[in-house]
Amino acid sequence: MSSTDGDLADFLIGHNIIDDRNGLANFDWAQDENIGNEVYRRGLALSMNILNEEYRNDNEASADFKSIKLLAIACLQLLPKHEAHLMDPLFRFAHSAFVNQSSHAGVADIEFDHQCRNLLLQTELCQSYNALRSSMNETPPMEELIAGVFMIHAKTCFDRISDSITGFRLLYEHGEKMNFQSSESKDDLIFEKALQISQSIRGMILQIETVLPLLQSDQIKEILEMAQTTITSALENLHPYMIEKNSLTFILQQTSFAQVGMFFRKFFDGSNLGINSVMDQLNRACLDGEVLEPQDKYATLFAQFLRLRFCQQHPELEQEETNAIHQSQKALEEAMKMRSYNSYDDFLNRLINNEPINSIQLSDELSFSI
């Protein structure tokens, strides 16, 4: 361990950023602005160092990968969701140093491996999305450039999501054949991976909806194939777990079914999917009549949004729209005010007031947070 790493571990322990079980402590440390600033400064400084190949080569065999990962997680708590990519170099280096040092030691902490894989999915998708968003900032807007960058982005993301689906299958179907320290840690990793895959699919559909009007017909065909393959695989592989695990996973899976149904119906050859069957699926995801915990009610807000938007896009659903408005207001009242609550509140109220919604803003705010 280098002296810098020693400093980092001391810093994290000394400021109660990590707890005595060597995990991230609660968020109290972030209430002190000075500590928050120092965490952020260290995270960015280390990130800059890691971008230097010489630094990586010199430090990989001795780096304190656990502290680096925890520092990056601490930074994620301070950063807006869509800036998670800033911590990608730290997670990548921590993972690489972990594998390198494990190979030399002849033993590996497989929990750490899968924690890094989960975190890297989040930062990689975010990184790719930021490249896409940068392409949108060109003046004047260059549609061909955006479309081209989007195709690269979509391929990158669907490849990474596919790899994560394989990772999910590895843990869920065969995890008992792996040497986990406890079944709880394995279960936590499966849960985290399932949530991340669900979130990633949700984000990709929002992003495709945003960029689709700019794509050429051959690009649309290519996107259709990529999306269909990966999304179908995700839904199929997650299904047995999501419907059994708990109310949150059930809600997320039902919402995915509804969103995917609407997506293929609207943009691709899903015209054989009747309006009523889409509406039925949306109703299943909203769980209006169920008594839910506030955090589960929060998880239904995206389905509430999808249902209300679907009603407004189809005049024949005028009667259902009145109920959808009422139920969305009720859900907002009952939901826990967490993560993207303010975004849902804003988007739902815009629908209720017949105000336009910017698809880029929708994608920015809901692509990376369930």
Partner: protein, 117 residues
């Protein structure tokens, strides 16, 4: 650069070693022997490997570590240049037995589109 396996690499490796007592890898100049109940393995390996064989060995070895297996012992076998020679010289395999083991290994190998490329 450190080899980092994909989830597909780990998934394939787990399927491949499942219920197998041993795994011979000609491209890596190595043979693994498993104690699955204790998540341990010992490995016989050609002492002087080419860079390519060393890379394959590192890959398979890392995959096993990341499935939670630990190495109980490593036997560096001098005077042999291939897994075939290792089987013949250290395990007294006949040429026919080596050939059968090789064919069986390919037949039992889990499918992976990357092998078709």
């Amino acid at each position: 650069m450190t080899y980092i396996p994909t989830a597909q690499d780990l998934y394939w490796t787990l399927q491949n070693i499942d219920q197998k007592k041993s795994w011979g890898i000609p491209s890596a100049g190595s043979i693994y022997f498993f104690d699955h109940s204790n998540y341990r393995f010992k490995v016989y390996t050609v002492a002087e490997k080419s860079e390519k064989a060393m890379n394959f060995f590192t890959g398979t070895y890392t995959n096993l570590l990341l499935l939670g297996y630990t190495e109980s012992s490593r036997i560096l076998c001098p005077g042999v240049k291939s897994t075939k020679e290792l089987l013949v010289n250290f395990f007294q395999y006949s040429d026919d037995e080596v050939e059968r083991a090789y064919v069986k290994g390919i037949e039992m190998r889990p499918e992976d589109p990357r092998f078709d490329e």
